[in-house]
């Protein structure tokens, strides 16, 4: 599989705080990549650095072989990277359909009709609500809208930031199915940031684990789900010792 995106030694700052401390990673064409990590590990910062809403202080970000670090985000969107931001961020006072049209802002008007049909086929609920204000949609519908809006630009790479946040288990598995469908049927490469590690590892091919702004682990999704550390820290499965020995004294962090 060809390399679609590569991040090399990226350092990104939030004011004085270094959120990414030299991150290197690759996304291959056609992959579903999961990015795991606790709160504040730098997952969202990494996505923002790729989509251009944050500018790295050091390091390179390359998309299809071209450097994109420092390119303004609205131009990165034109290159074929679509981010579904954390917390949905729909245009609350526009209608559902206007939201979707805005998703296709970077394309010619004639080209987006087909994409619109695809979005409605994937999310029939959005078709029903196409004329209502996006702010009045339910949380799950708004998440579908955010994903649909990103689909409208017909991206090569879709960055999903916590799509399962605040959704019911039923909806989480629906979103997970959608992600797989997008990948398999439309060939969209996907980079998925999740707190819900189980869902992420279920759909992903490959995964990275971020901690304190560094990549501390990478492997195939299957191997990651079997790794003891991942099981304990992210999947909440704790192997009970013989005498119920507490394991918290052992490695709690990677350094």
């Amino acid at each position: 599989m060809a390399e679609l995106l590569s991040v090399q030694n990226v350092e990104t700052l939030y004011g004085p705080i270094m959120a990414l401390r030299g991150v290197s990673m690759q996304v291959r064409e056609g992959q579903i990549l999961a990015l795991l990590g606790a709160n504040g590990a730098g997952k969202s910062t990494l996505l923002k650095t790729i989509s251009g809403t944050m500018v790295p202080k050091k390091g390179r970000v390359e998309f299809q072989g071209k450097s994109i670090a420092g390119t303004p985000p609205h131009q990165i969107a034109r290159l074929g990277i679509a981010q579904v931001p954390e917390g949905r961020e729909v245009f609350a006072l526009l209608t559902t359909e206007q939201n979707l049209h805005m998703g296709g802002y970077v394309r010619e008007r004639a080209d987006i009709a087909e994409s619109l049909r695809r979005v409605y086929a994937l999310f029939p609920a959005l078709y029903v609500k196409r004329a209502s204000q996006a702010g009045y949609l339910s949380g799950g519908q708004q998440q579908m809208l955010a994903i649909g809006r990103a689909m409208m630009s017909s991206p090569r790479l879709m960055l999903l930031d916590e799509p399962s946040l605040g959704l019911s288990p039923q909806l989480v598995s629906e979103i997970a199915e959608t992600i797989v469908k997008l990948n398999r049927e439309q060939g969209v490469t996907i980079m998925l940031v999740e707190q819900n590690a189980r869902m992420a590892l279920d759909v992903a091919d490959y995964g990275y684990v971020l901690e304190n702004g560094r990549i501390v682990m990478e492997n195939t999704a299957k191997n990651l789900s079997d790794a003891t550390d991942i099981k304990e820290f992210y999947l909440g499965m704790k192997e009970q010792g013989v005498r119920g020995r507490r394991r918290w004294k052992q490695r709690k962090t990677w350094r």
């Binding site: 245009f91 805005m102 970077v106």
Partner: protein, 292 residues
């Protein structure tokens, strides 16, 4: 006050209010795009009046051509101001940008004073003195022109924001800047357009106001009343600004014939105070609250 007199005052108030409404639209357009109040909005209108004076009286253009040229040159001026003054201020505190627009107002006033002189002027127009008589009510052509002109501008704006892709993208950018950037909308372009649009509208308002008001560098101070209108309308609502502007024009006219002069002058601000106490967000505040 009999019925005819009532109608007479109402019509003058409506046409005056349309001018307030147009300037208030400019306030709201820029506020929605940049979250900054452009306190030089009234002065932009004043510059528009002087430019119209130059086109019509000095260069002797026909009225309609002069009107269009005024709007076009004002839109250009608005775009240039945004490029030169506002864009370098991106990321600075809102208050700094606010003070910048206040300063811009002073500069525009002294600029107008030094270029066109301080003595009042008026422009040639096809309406002055023409009157339409309906029973006992006299309709000045200039008043009718203001109302028709405002209606046309509002219809055009409404269509622009509803159906034009670029118009919808301006709405999108004002509702959620992050999401707008992520779908590929250039926020700089939206800001530039907002300044060009509101300066263009200010120019139009200036031409509409010119037949009923003399032109001098201080005329832009009616922008303060328009600002009151924008606040009453909710500062984020275009229809609200227009309606509140018209309401203020009408209230002011009635206050002038019923109340002592000093109180009448303050009436727009009294209305603003009362509205702010009753509905702090303004009459037409949008349901959406800005998340911090």
């Amino acid at each position: 006050m009999d019925g005819a007199q009532f109608l007479q005052v109402l019509i003058i108030g409506l046409s005056q209010g349309c001018v307030y409404g147009l300037i208030a639209l400019g306030f709201v357009l820029i506020y929605k795009a940049t979250e900054v109040v452009n306190f030089a909005q009234g002065d932009l209108m004043m510059i528009g009046m002087f430019i119209a004076f130059t086109f019509l009286n000095v260069l002797g253009m026909p009225y309609w051509l002069g009107l269009m040229c005024t709007c076009a040159s004002m839109a250009l001026i608005g775009a240039l101001l945004e490029r030169a003054l506002i864009r370098p201020m991106i990321g600075e505190p809102t208050f700094a940008v606010l003070m910048l627009t206040v300063g811009l107002g002073f500069i525009l006033r002294s600029f107008a004073g030094s270029v066109w002189g301080a003595d009042p002027k008026s422009i040639h127009n096809p309406f002055s003195g023409e009157v339409l008589r309906l029973g006992e009510v006299f309709l000045g052509f200039e008043n009718i022109a203001v109302m028709v002109g405002t209606a046309l501008v509002c219809i055009a704006l409404g269509l622009y924001f509803r159906y034009a892709r670029i118009g919808v993208s301006m709405q999108a950018a004002s509702q959620n800047q992050l999401a707008a950037v992520l779908v590929g909308i250039s926020v700089n372009r939206v800001t530039l357009l907002a300044w060009a649009l509101s300066a263009g509208i200010a120019g139009f308002a200036g031409v509409m106001l010119a037949p009923v008001s003399l032109i001098d560098p201080q005329v832009g101070f009616i922008g303060i009343k328009a600002f009151a209108a924008a606040i009453i309308g909710g500062l984020g609502s275009l229809p609200g600004a227009l309606i509140a502007g018209i309401a203020i024009g009408v209230i002011e006219q009635f206050a002038q014939i019923t109340l002592p002069t000093s109180l009448a002058t303050a009436s727009p601000y009294l209305v603003m105070l009362i509205i702010l106490i009753v509905r702090p967000g303004g009459l037409f505040a949008s349901v959406q609250r800005k998340r911090v």
